[in-house]
Symmetry: C2
Subunit: 205 residues, 2 copies
DNA sequence: CAGTGTGAAGATGTTCACAGCG
DNA sequence: CGCTGTGAACATCTTCACACTG
């Protein structure tokens, strides 16, 4: 109840703010008000101010936020002021899409290694990355120091891969397989399930 | 405050329950308790009971839920007791992944048409679908009766496509472009941003 | 008596009005 | 004077204890 005063929902909105801030930077706009940010995003202006004020007083009263500074602050909060090497496991449909996903670059995420099981995929090069044999996953991970694993294998294999990643000392996992992973408490997992978005949509239709 | 008593979060958990229920069906298990469901999912048992009880009394006290019946009820709540034809716009990395995404089938989602702008992509066949020219998007949509559009084009094109979909009478949109769409109130939009999952993960690392 | 269904308490997240500052 | 920062009211969501029932 003490140390994490910051709403998870706030954290999840910060990347959206950051994106908008980058757009403003591209347009050479140097100041922005919470009002303007809110107008172009699905939030209102008090929400913007509250979200930002959790982390300090970034704004200037009567003026707004300095765009350049705001970008720096948000990057710092989200730990995006460094690069985040990642290992991808499973180079099927989703895996290949991630290998060339343009959204990673600006945020400092970079897939450094990719693994698959299928002989016809191993050895292929997609983007900059040559696909390796998943049999070598643990050894290779120990060689480099990669904090994040992406699981994009079919459901039945997901838990095995997760165990392997944990064994190799991974810190966080993003899991695209529709399986709830069992991992030690110290390993963070973010579960991604695209069908939820579609189900939610048709529920409200 | 009246008509929508049901938490959005509950709606977003239902697909997860449905998935687990299908797994149990595959194992020929006929009854399940909230306790068992909770053990295998990232929720606790009162949450399961509360979620399900919003929609009626599906369970039997002292016994649990009938698996078959539970599947039927959840499908009905989420409107998954029909098929949902969809039109995909943009057949790049994400678009192609969606065209062959195995998670859609069981839930009744099916991509019926796909569009792109690039001449080298138009005419190609991926899965069962032949890619059409996005120039014909509106006309083709009016011919068939497709309630859902998927936007998987680069950011700058997204709003244009959205306008076009709205014009053609679409009811709901799932948007994978990192752009907040402006659409009339009656059109539902679900925004998908994969980088949020990665940002959230590293924030907590 | 085992396990559901639920009201009430607690936690988390959002909105608002306005004080306070540049 | 304009726009941020924020405490307090409000809304939403989760947890819990237990009444209830097959």
């Amino acid at each position: 109840m003490t140390f994490n005063e910051i709403p998870q929902e706030t954290i999840r909105r910060l990347p959206m703010y950051l994106r908008k801030v980058y757009e403003l930077l591209d347009k050479d706009q140097s100041q922005v008000s919470s009002e303007q940010l809110a107008r172009e995003l699905p939030v209102n202006s008090p929400q913007v101010r509250k979200d930002l004020s959790y982390f300090g007083d970034f704004g200037t009263r009567g003026v707004g936020y300095d765009v350049q500074n705001l970008a720096r602050e948000i990057r710092s909060i989200l730990h995006l002021d460094r690069t985040w090497p990642m290992a991808l496991v499973g180079v099927g449909n989703i895996g290949s899409a991630l290998l060339t996903y343009p959204g990673f670059e600006k945020k400092g995420f970079t897939i450094e290694m990719a693994f698959d099981q299928a002989p016809e995929i191993i050895g292929q090069t997609i983007g900059q990355i040559t696909i390796e044999d998943v049999a070598n996953l643990e050894t290779r991970l120990r060689q480099e120091d990669i904090p994040i694993g992406i699981i994009a294998v079919p459901s039945p294999a997901a838990q095995n891969i997760a165990d392997c990643l944990v064994e190799a000392g991974i810190e966080g996992i993003v899991n695209f397989a529709p399986t709830i992973l069992q991992v030690p408490e110290e390993v963070h997992v973010n579960q991604v399930d695209i069908t939820i978005e579609f189900c939610e949509l048709v529920y409200y239709l």
